[in-house]
């Protein structure tokens, strides 16, 4: 029996960043704990991170490269697996062009630098991510508005906090963790919570605004209306630093509070109170979550929220929303060599003209990929490589995603488990978990930190994702490094550190400077905060943000609402799971064995539904079942369902992918998506409910 060795690393069970001490005995991780010295998590760790040993050593985990032969998976060598992928890709490039290969990832798990480098050097502009409706959409919208993503600055001690459609203590807030928000809140900050559900934070809040799902942009216009009407804004800033101030004011005027109250279901007086509290509570930090991005108002909502931060003097202010300065290392963008994708290839990007903001941030919305596969237009997609993604569960209109992926000539996946998506593949490449990799973590985030995620163990023949892209790239004649660690040395070089040295340090923080615009202006074409966007104008789109009614709502489609009378919010998060992951981990599944749909008791009573009953949820796209949880914390007109469900314990290749999967219900028509970003609507559609027959 060996000694217990403790290794400092960084979690990545979600997008990661929490500091971890892993306990290793006889070459096996026996326990993980939070690292008290972590500047982000301060020793805490969530249920997902704490369960990593059950993921890493799970009996169903795929530990070797696999090839599907006659519908059966067979173990093969890495050499053979990579040769097969490289040969197929080369054949597609020759016959159809590199653009006919789609490269995809899910939420982005700290390997985008390598994934994009592989795609760019291959020459395909078609990279499929979750970014069209999650985080990258926020980055894109703020890039064109104020030049960077403004991040809530908890350490700057905000006096007022707006938690807009976000629960950073349950789910991944990307930059700073829920624990820092909590510390700021406990110092006595006022709390405004905007959420259709009465959750933990709504209970804690000074003001809780229970809005109609999907109407966040209208509510933001309401806030702006109060702040402008009552002259609560920073006048000097507005005069000096807002592009199109008069036009913007005129647009906001189109949304008087009566109209906003009617759209959002939030009382006028409450909007006034909240807007005044935010505007007068300097410094005030606004943290916003993905629900604001997951409708066709995606870009406009982010632009309006940026307007709120700017006009109240909270942009790049301590305790407000800051542009954090990164440590001096090579950026993900530099490493990815975006500039080396030939223009000729860039112009072939699917949906590039239709969704110019998605194109600007180098991704495509899934719909255009499915269209290309299913119709061959504008050209066919023939092969794909998907890494850490389960689109048949997590992308809108799951049936279409499933059909499209089934029709690809060749698909390779990189994952831990045989997911319903992986089952559609020809080659399975087994990835290492975060315990099995060396990486400069968090480099893509905008909180000013990078972290050393260091390898603790090796398991089976699993390779870290980075190495898979690197070895495949080398086989295709691309320029890479000999080892992963060499590539990390390259990333770290500008900081004067090697990977070995960085590992010892644990993390690096950029030197923060606030109010950078006073010296340099904002990184936009006019140097100002472009509430009137010259870029959108150039693209021939509305340069001013607005609220567009959800195309499938009781307001826009009363005809459809007669049959599907409830607003379905299909984006309910679960603290123990990350999107479609973790359902196979016994500790976590014990806590949440079944998918939950929240229904108001009055609504449930009308349909004879009791707490705990299985319920059919139906939309114009299909029908699924989940288990009812009755709660009076939601509006009786709203139904809220959990996302990400499949059943790893069902052993047939579908793994119950269409039984409880909310994306069977969601829409991905072009009309339902954000017109510049291609964000799909995962937050507000119409549904009916009925009890499942009891036997």
């Amino acid at each position: 029996m060996g000694e217990i060795k403790k290794v400092r690393t960084a979690c990545r069970n979600c997008h990661g960043g929490c500091g971890v001490i892993a306990h290793v005995k006889d070459g096996k991780v026996i326990k993980v704990e939070g690292d008290p010295d972590s500047p982000l998590s301060h020793g805490t760790l969530c249920s997902k991170g704490l369960a990593v040993t059950q993921m890493a050593y799970h009996p169903d985990r795929i530990l070797y490269p696999m090839q599907k032969v006659d519908h059966n998976w067979q173990r093969i060598s890495w050499d053979k697996a990579l040769d097969i992928v490289a040969d197929k890709f080369r054949a597609v490039v020759e016959a159809y062009g590199a653009e006919s290969i789609v490269i995809g990832q899910g939420t982005g798990r700290d390997y985008e630098s390598h994934l994009y480098r592989f795609a760019n050097l291959l020459g395909t502009p078609n990279v499929l991510t979750a970014g069209h409706m999650c985080y990258v959409s926020r980055v894109g919208a703020t890039l064109i508005t104020c030049g960077n993503l403004p991040v809530a600055d908890w350490s700057g001690e905000p006096r007022c906090i707006v938690m807009w459609a976000c629960n950073p203590q349950w789910t991944n807030p990307d930059e700073h963790k829920g624990v820092d928000f909590w510390r700021a809140y406990q110092k006595g900050a006022k709390l405004i919570v905007i959420d259709p559900r009465r959750g933990f934070l709504a209970k804690k809040a000074d003001l809780w605004l229970q809005l109609r799902p999907g109407t966040d942009a209208a509510l933001a216009l309401g806030f702006l209306n109060v702040i402008i009407e009552e002259e609560l804004y920073d006048k000097a800033f507005a005069e000096d630093y807002i592009n199109g101030w008069d036009d913007f004011k005129a647009r906001v005027k189109e949304y008087p509070l009566d109209r906003v109250a009617h759209i959002t279901w939030v009382r006028k007086e409450l909007i006034q109170k909240a807007a005044r509290m935010y505007a007068s509570g300097k410094p005030a930090a606004l943290q916003w979550g993905v629900p604001t991005e997951q409708t066709l108002n995606c870009t406009d909502c982010t632009r309006l929220l940026t307007g709120l931060m700017a006009l109240t003097g909270n942009l790049d202010a301590p305790g407000g929303n800051a542009f954090f300065v990164p440590p001096p290392v090579r950026t993900v963008s530099q490493f990815s060599r975006h500039r080396d994708l030939p223009n000729e290839q860039r112009h072939k990007q699917l949906g590039g003209r239709q969704y110019p903001l998605a194109s600007r941030v180098a991704l495509i919305t899934p719909k255009v990929a499915w269209d290309a596969i299913l119709t061959g237009k504008p050209y066919p997609l023939k092969a794909g490589l998907l890494c850490g993604t389960n689109p048949v569960i997590t992308r809108a209109n799951a049936n279409e995603a499933y059909t499209a992926l089934s029709k690809l000539d060749f698909l390779a996946v990189i994952d831990f488990f045989m997911t319903p998506t992986a089952e559609l593949a020809d080659i399975f490449l087994p990835a290492g978990t975060w315990l099995e990799q060396n990486h400069v973590a968090d480099n893509w985030k905008r909180h000013g930190y990078i972290l050393a995620r260091q390898k603790v163990v090796e398991i089976g023949e699993c390779w870290q994702d980075h190495k898979i892209f690197m070895e495949l790239g080398k086989r295709m004649g691309q320029q890479w490094w000999d080892t992963v660690e060499d590539s990390l040395d390259y990333l770290l070089e500008p900081a004067g550190l090697t990977w070995e040295q960085f590992k010892e340090k644990g993390y690096l923080k950029g030197e923060q400077i606030y109010y950078k615009y006073r010296e340099k202006g904002f990184s936009t074409p006019t140097g100002k905060v472009e509430l009137y966007s010259t870029i959108l104008e150039k693209w021939g789109r509305d340069p001013l943000p607005k609220y567009t009614e959800i195309p499938e709502s009781p307001v826009s489609r009363p005809d459809l609402a007669a049959r599907y009378p409830y607003i379905l919010n299909p984006g309910l998060r679960i603290p123990t799971f990350f999107h479609s992951a973790n359902r196979m981990l016994p500790w976590l599944r014990e806590i949440r064995p079944d998918p939950i749909v929240e229904i108001h008791p009055e609504t449930a009573a009308e349909h004879g539904i009791d707490d705990g009953d299985w319920v059919y949820i139906e939309s114009p796209r299909g029908r699924i079942r989940q288990r009812a949880k009755l709660t009076n914390g939601i509006d009786p007109r709203v139904v809220v369902a959990e996302h990400g469900w499949w059943y790893p314990e069902i052993k047939d290749p579908g793994h119950g992918w269409d039984t409880s999967n909310v994306n069977i219900l969601t829409d991905n028509s072009h009309e339902s998506m954000d017109p510049v970003m291609g964000a799909t609507n995962l937050r507000a559609l119409l549904c009916s409910i009925a009890p499942v027959e009891k036997h």
Binding site: V32, T44, C46, T53, W182, F200, P575, T576, W587, E590
Partner: protein, 149 residues
């Protein structure tokens, strides 16, 4: 006799379940026994856990004296002595006593006694993101509950 206990401030419990997994990991428990557990009734979350009661009903109910209070007041069960009769599960007013189906014995919170020996906090206390779990002397915990600390 000194008394040591665990207190979870319900008002700050946000139902993330990190304490449960930290506990499972520390005690190497599989599916079944949950020495600490949070019941969800959003926006309220109700933690179920051992209070290490001064007059412990579980201890009093045990027919074979497998449950003892150590000199600090931590209520412990000796798995070797336990006969699996489940009297303690009935006796506990909180539902904190658990049963390990595999080993056919009762199991309970030991306040991570091995960690305490090393000067560490119980695993649940350490993992909690809102820091709403406290352990210590009942006197200190009472002061905390009264808002003195």
């Amino acid at each position: 006799m000194a008394n040591t206990s665990l207190v979870i401030f319900k008002k700050d419990c946000m139902g993330c379940h990190a304490c449960e997994i930290a506990c499972k990991q520390e005690h190497r428990l599989g599916i079944g026994p949950r020495l600490i557990r949070v019941i969800e009734n959003a926006p309220d979350y109700i933690p179920i856990y051992c209070h290490h009661c001064t007059k412990s009903p579980c201890l009093a109910s045990c027919p074979v004296d497998a449950i003892v209070k150590d000199d600090r007041g931590i209520v412990l069960i000796d798995n070797q002595l336990c006969i699996g009769c489940k009297e303690c599960l009935e006796a506990c007013p909180f539902g904190a006593m658990q049963f390990d189906d595999e080993k056919q014995v009762a199991v309970k919170c030991d306040l991570c006694i091995e960690r305490l020996k090393n000067g560490e906090q119980p695993a649940c206390v350490k993992a909690c993101a809102t820091q709403c779990i406290f352990w210590g002397s009942t006197r200190e915990l009472s002061a905390r509950l009264d808002g003195v600390i």
